[in-house]
Symmetry: C2
Subunit: 357 residues, 2 copies
């Protein structure tokens, strides 16, 4: 019997916070920033491959990354890569995947996952996802996965739960809080990080689109007849041109009344910044996260260094720095200044155009 379980990998991001290692032509999900030997998207695929057959994956990405996706996931057929002509945040991305699955399998159960997160304990994680699939199927629920916070992180969204059950109804979503609020959340114990991983039946999320984002429902359900035909790309083009950019959290999860969260502790990070990569990297005895070979450090502490393959670096006298070297761009920046990378990119772009971006 064919599986009703599907996995939708969202892979449209450009990961500019990892510039100059990530580029418009090579975003974070296709990189191996931790030096594991595999790209993030490859890890994501292999993580779910044990519960979802390869032919039941969909990857939603920008059309310019289609070839990269197929290169990293050669198990997929080209029609398993859904191409957005333009990024419109998560709601349109999920709608495109959900209505595609509905057409193929009205009973589809759907896991939605980012393509570039870190999960350390994959067995625990899959157990959580399996529970979510069971609960979502039996209860027509919109499930989200929450992470027990370990620090007052101001870079994440938070989910407040209604009770202490493993699967709890969601009381409230809060976008990135300030430090004081994040500290309160951490102490309170009712708040979990929003991982951006969702589980639901395709039909349940389609009903939610109809109710909470009716414009998107109209556009994407109208697309269903064209799916899999020669007309698909043209109509997708029009639909994305028309549709409003909005996140699934803001557009549906914060409004619907059948939203549940399954909380887990499986060593999760969105690895959204060099700082979080530093946190999750193996360090030398002076707390430096450096490549296994070719890094000669003197009087250097708590720094992270990334080098092109085969290159060596001799670094003296840096404390808490990010050093990222690539073939055409060198970046040296204090770890505390990593939020400036966007400014750096803007300035380089202003002077040099897209050449180094």
């Amino acid at each position: 019997m064919a599986s009703n379980k599907y996995c939708v990998i969202m892979a449209g991001g450009i990961g500019s916070r990892f510039w100059p290692k990530s580029r418009q032509s090579m975003p974070k999900q296709f990189l191996d920033i931790l030096g594991t030997g595999k790209s993030f998207i490859r890890h994501t695929f292999e993580r779910f491959e044990k519960i979802v057959p390869a032919e039941n994956f969909l990857v939603v990405t920008n059309r310019k990354y289609k070839d990269l996706v197929l290169e990293h996931l050669p198990e997929l057929a080209p029609e398993q890569v859904l191409c957005e002509p333009v990024g419109r945040n998560t709601a349109p991305c999920i709608a495109y995947a959900a209505y595609s699955l509905l057409k193929r399998d009205p009973e589809a159960e759907m896991i939605v996952t980012p393509s570039d997160h870190l999960i350390l304990d994959e067995d625990d994680f899959r157990a959580v996802i399996s529970e979510c699939l069971e609960f979502a199927t039996q209860n027509d629920a919109l499930m989200t996965v929450g992470i027990k916070p370990t620090r007052p992180d101001t870079g994440y969204g938070y989910i407040q739960v209604s009770d202490a059950q493993p699967i709890s109804k969601v009381k409230c979503f809060t976008e990135k809080p300030d430090l004081q609020l994040a500290q309160t959340f951490l102490q309170c114990g009712e708040f979990y990080w929003n991982s951006g991983i969702f589980v639901w039946k395709a039909r349940t999320i389609a009903e939610a689109f109809e109710k909470y984002l009716p414009d998107h429902h109209l556009l994407f359900s109208g697309l269903m007849n064209a799916l899999g035909t020669d007309a698909e790309q043209n109509i997708v083009e029009m639909v994305f041109a028309e549709c409003r950019a909005i996140s699934i959290d803001y557009g549906i999860m914060e409004k619907a009344d059948n939203v549940y969260v399954r909380c887990g502790h499986f060593g999760w990070s969105d690895l959204g910044t060099w700082g979080s990569v530093y946190q999750h990297s193996r360090k030398d005895r002076y707390a430096n996260a450096i490549p296994e070979e070719g890094c000669y450090l003197y009087d250097t502490r708590s720094s992270i260094v990334s080098l092109p393959k085969g290159k060596i670096a001799v670094i003296s006298g840096l404390k808490e720095y990010i050093v990222v070297d690539t073939d055409d761009v060198l970046m040296i920046c204090p770890r505390a200044e990593e939020q400036s990378i966007k400014k750096f990119i803007d300035e380089v772009k202003y002077n040099n155009g897209d050449k180094h971006i």
Copy 2:
């Protein structure tokens, strides 16, 4: 009438203090570290070309740099490049050139110059050299060029003069002094930096070799018959294998009694360290010496940056650093630590062999 004036360019150095920009395969004299558009050896050649005809130049270098010399100085014929099989300091290098010139022209007047120094006021410099040539010819003198010191530099040798004449008999040579002594020298006014530029008749220096370095005299005068024959390279090989490494300063200049110095102010530096390159580079308003293009600095002061052509750098939060990026090595080091470069090279060599050296 053919000119009796000859210029001997000493170009055997490996310039390890400019690693990783200088390499065993591409020493400093072949680089354009200041970004002038010409290598040091090219500048040296052009500086003397106005007083010495091209066919009267000799370059003494390690045999592995012969092709590089001819590439940078296409005006020279291959036989104008004298190849040392191994570096033996300046005395053997000068002996090889002096006896070669003697054989060709017993009346040869000889300028000896390093290949990798900076001279800002070339007209003044040539006037000084012309005076030296005249004095050396008329007086059978060993002339050296002294530089009026502008700071208590501990990296240079010093020459004490006997009187305040433009051309003065040398009282004493002192190797690199400590800071206190250097300060005394600077205040005293009788001390000049030893530029390592010499002027003499080939016959005068040969007589000095005979008297003060008789072993070298025997070896190199014995070589004269073979010069210009097929046997030259084999005999040169034996001579250099035999002869003791010694500097011309220590072996002759400190001992001879016909040593004179002509002092000048023509903006000289041996550019022996990144620090001296920094001193002589054009700076931005935050005192950074950076390439004309492609350097984006934030909160960065008094630093020197060198990049491969076409590469850009974004640097934040460095004060008084040296950043040297090349295709296969990146070095980041406080300016005050530049004497550590030798240690860096040793350690890289120990771990990686000659690959990046």
